[in-house]
């Protein structure tokens, strides 16, 4: 047999907090859950917020802390978007698990309260029908089962479910908190990071700690143990400012062909257009030579293009669309097209 190549976990997993108290920046939920650990009282919960802010981490940590390794398997059901969670599963697997009655009494120092926990991670990808089917189950077995819903977009959770839960919004991590987590990891891994690099890392990862950790690990592998701000930018996929400026300058020139050439270049270089739109927005907003009205016109188009990209539209065409309308706005050409 072929030799096995060893693997160990990436840093994001290695540094996933195992205890609720180690979850950074989400004070409110940590307070409530710490209370839960003492009193064993726990409402249904709904965690929502952007990626990498600690939602899954928190749900797993509290479950482990409540039940310990021995009971975990029998008391906690974790289902995520990769499991089938259609209406049938709700009516069978979830219901069966929810219905089981359990005893109480702490064991091996774990509180082990008399209920089970069902974690529905990435619940925003459940269909509305499946969510509706859950309502009854939630009510009928609320004595013996607690539900944890986790999602990025709370609007995708139907109101009847959301209103039965204590809701917690997970905030993007603030720069300070992010830095202290990162410094902690640097300490463990023997890395040095100067203060400029640290603030760069916080700003490029936009409050997503998972992303920050991934960048940090990649930079450490690529550039050794002393990491600069430039190293981090190069692994992050942020588009170099000169490239964004070049697109903007091309639009300012008023010449369609110049802009087209620049856009083609952006595509050939493989820069993600969604990121480009975002950085272009920054440039435009912060430019004092553009009137508010022009800015408004361009922003409107940026928004439309972003939406189209989400729908799966072509990157070249959308960026070109924005570029063309930017030219028109900057040259004060009429907003309406000839034929509309």
């Amino acid at each position: 047999m072929a030799p096995v190549v060893q693997s160990s976990q990436p840093w994001v997993e290695k540094y996933r907090p195992r205890q609720v108290k180690d979850v950074a920046h989400q004070d409110e939920v940590v307070r409530v859950l710490t209370n839960t650990l003492e009193t064993a009282n726990c409402p249904h919960m709904l965690f929502y917020g952007p990626p990498g802010t600690g939602k899954t981490t928190t749900a797993l940590a509290i479950s482990h802390q409540l039940f310990g390794p021995e009971l975990y398997k029998s008391r906690v059901l974790e289902l995520n978007a990769s499991d089938d969670r259609g209406i049938n599963v709700v009516r069978t697997k979830i219901k069966d698990f929810a219905a089981v009655a359990v005893g109480s009494g702490s064991r091996q120092g774990y509180p082990c309260p008399p209920y089970k926990i069902i974690i529905l991670d990435e619940a925003d990808s459940m269909t509305e029908d499946a969510q509706n089917a859950l309502r009854r189950t939630m009510e009928t077995y609320s004595k013996v089962t607690r539900f944890f819903f986790i999602c990025n977009y709370i609007s995708r959770i139907i109101e009847p479910l959301a209103s039965r839960c204590a809701k917690f919004r997970f905030k993007p991590l603030s720069e300070g908190i992010m830095s202290s987590r990162i410094l902690h990891i640097c300490g463990e891994e023997g890395l040095t990071l100067d203060s400029e690099a640290l603030s760069t890392l916080s700003s490029i990862s936009q409050g997503d700690l998972r992303r920050a950790i991934t960048y940090l690990q990649s930079a450490a592998r690529l550039f050794g143990s002393s990491i600069t701000s430039k190293d981090l930018i190069s692994v992050s996929g942020v588009i170099p400012q000169e490239v964004v400026e070049a697109v903007f300058a091309a639009c300012k020139s008023g010449d369609f062909d110049v802009a087209n050439k620049e856009v083609n270049n952006v595509i050939a270089e493989g820069y993600p257009v969604s990121q480009m739109l975002y950085q272009l927005l920054e440039v435009i907003i912060n430019n004092d030579d553009i009137s508010d009205e022009q800015k408004a016109r361009i922003c409107k188009k940026l928004g439309e293009a972003d939406k189209c990209l989400i729908d799966g539209a072509d990157e070249y065409l959308q960026l070109m669309y924005v570029a063309s309308h930017t030219i028109r706005a900057l040259c004060d050409m009429p907003e309406e097209l000839h034929f509309d």
Binding site: M1, A2, P3, V4, V5, Q6, S7, S8, Q9, P10, W11, V12, E13, K14, P50, N80, A81, S82, D84, D121, E122, S125, R210, R211, T214, Q217, S218, R221, L222, G237, D255, F256, D257, N260, I267, A268, E269, G270, P272, V273, S274, Q275, A305, C308, L309, D311, G312, A313, D314, L317, Q318, M320, Y321, S324, H325, I327, M333, L337, H338, F339
Partner: protein
């Protein structure tokens, strides 16, 4: 063997066009805790080559012993069993597949295969556990559901299964998936880099290269390395020894699109529209992706229009391509674009009013089909 395959660099050290990325990858996998990777960049830029070389770096020559199989998946979905068939390429260390080929059922494939890999984790004689790599191509074509189902799975099984995702446009990959990977941008090689590769091949094949030939091929390739090598080989087949003014192989369908563009420019009438429709249909039947046709058509039209109309056509191209994504039949939207373009062009000439009316009529018929 075609030159594109024959001269595909097998190791990271032999990579010519993306030396820096290759060297970085080498460092990245020096310890076996590298994160999941997402390669993105335009077609023909060399992502696949990098991925294969990377796998070899990680596991040694074993990854080259691949077998191609058509696997049947039986997936238990509550009340019914879904049967799916998908081609995959696998070695003892990795599996490569195109999950989006499963269409709207892609999510089942993604769920099932990763779990299966995690279950059958390779174990060596000392009982140490290893990991496998799953290469997923065209993840930008995966349905939203499938992308969602990757999220937690990527975290949960990260010790037993490392993912390498490839796609053209990373904007189409959800934020949550991107946040779980190290994103690696693979830019299209520059013309100079392409020339370098072509000259390298020329040397290996013992060819006499007339001055300027490789440069011309590179210029025509639109920074697509695969296309450049293919047309280099075609040149070799068509005529050797090369001559200074050797004609480059024409790009059939692109020629065809440029004819369509001329048609649109020449005459704006329902009859013309009808014949254009036939031609577009022909392209679609030959499996040229609709958005590629639309973009090529746009670029041909841009060559022929004045600057005011350029903005116009560009606006509508984006508009109809977006509609095409949401709709079902591509032909309607390309046709609507063409009809609309005809209208735009005759706008300034009011004496064509009657013609315009009849065009409008056929236009509205199209958009409500």
């Amino acid at each position: 063997m075609l030159w594109v395959d024959k001269y595909r660099p097998r190791t990271l050290d032999k990579i010519i066009a993306h030396e820096e990325i290759a060297q970085n990858l080498k460092k990245l996998v020096s310890e076996h805790d590298c994160p999941h990777l997402l390669f993105y960049g335009p077609t023909g830029s060399g992502k696949k080559t990098l991925v294969m070389a990377l796998l070899k770096q990680m596991f040694g020559p074993g990854v080259e012993k691949v077998k191609l199989e058509n696997k049947m998946w039986k997936i238990d979905a509550g009340t019914r069993t879904i049967e799916l068939e998908l081609t995959m390429l696998s070695s003892t260390h990795h599996v490569e597949m195109n999950p989006s080929d499963a269409g709207f059922q892609d999510r089942y494939i993604v769920q099932e295969i990763i779990k299966e890999m995690a279950r059958n984790r390779p174990v060596d004689t000392k009982g140490k556990k290893g990991f496998k790599v799953l290469v997923l191509n065209e993840v930008d074509k995966l349905s939203r559901e499938a992308q969602h189902s990757l999220r937690r799975t990527m975290e949960k099984y990260s010790a037993s299964c490392r993912l390498i995702l490839c796609c053209n446009s990373s904007s189409k990959v959800t934020e949550a998936v991107r946040s779980r990977c190290l994103n690696i941008r693979v830019n299209a090689p520059t013309e100079e880099q392409i020339i370098k590769v072509l000259e390298f091949i020329g040397k290996k094949e013992n060819l006499q290269l007339p001055p300027g030939l490789t440069a011309r091929i590179a210029a025509q390739s639109n920074r697509n390395l695969r296309r450049a090598i293919l047309s280099f080989e075609t040149c070799r087949v068509q005529q050797y020894p090369f001559t200074i003014n050797q004609a480059l192989p024409p790009l059939d369908w692109e020629q065809y699109v440029s004819e369509i563009a001329s048609d649109i420019m020449k005459e704006q009438s329902p009859k013309r529209l009808f014949s254009v429709r036939g031609k577009i249909y022909e392209l679609l039947v030959n499996c040229i992706p609709p958005e590629i046709i639309l973009k090529k058509l746009l670029s041909e039209l841009l060559k022929k229009l004045d600057s005011e109309l350029k903005h116009e056509v560009c606006h509508w191209a984006a508009y109809y391509e977006h509609r095409m994504r949401l709709g079902q039949k591509a032909i309607f939207h390309i046709e609507a674009f063409v009809a609309n373009q005809s209208l735009v062009q005759m706008e300034p000439v009011s004496s064509f009013d009657h013609l315009k009316d009849s065009l409008c009529a056929s236009f509205s018929r199209i958009s409500y089909v």
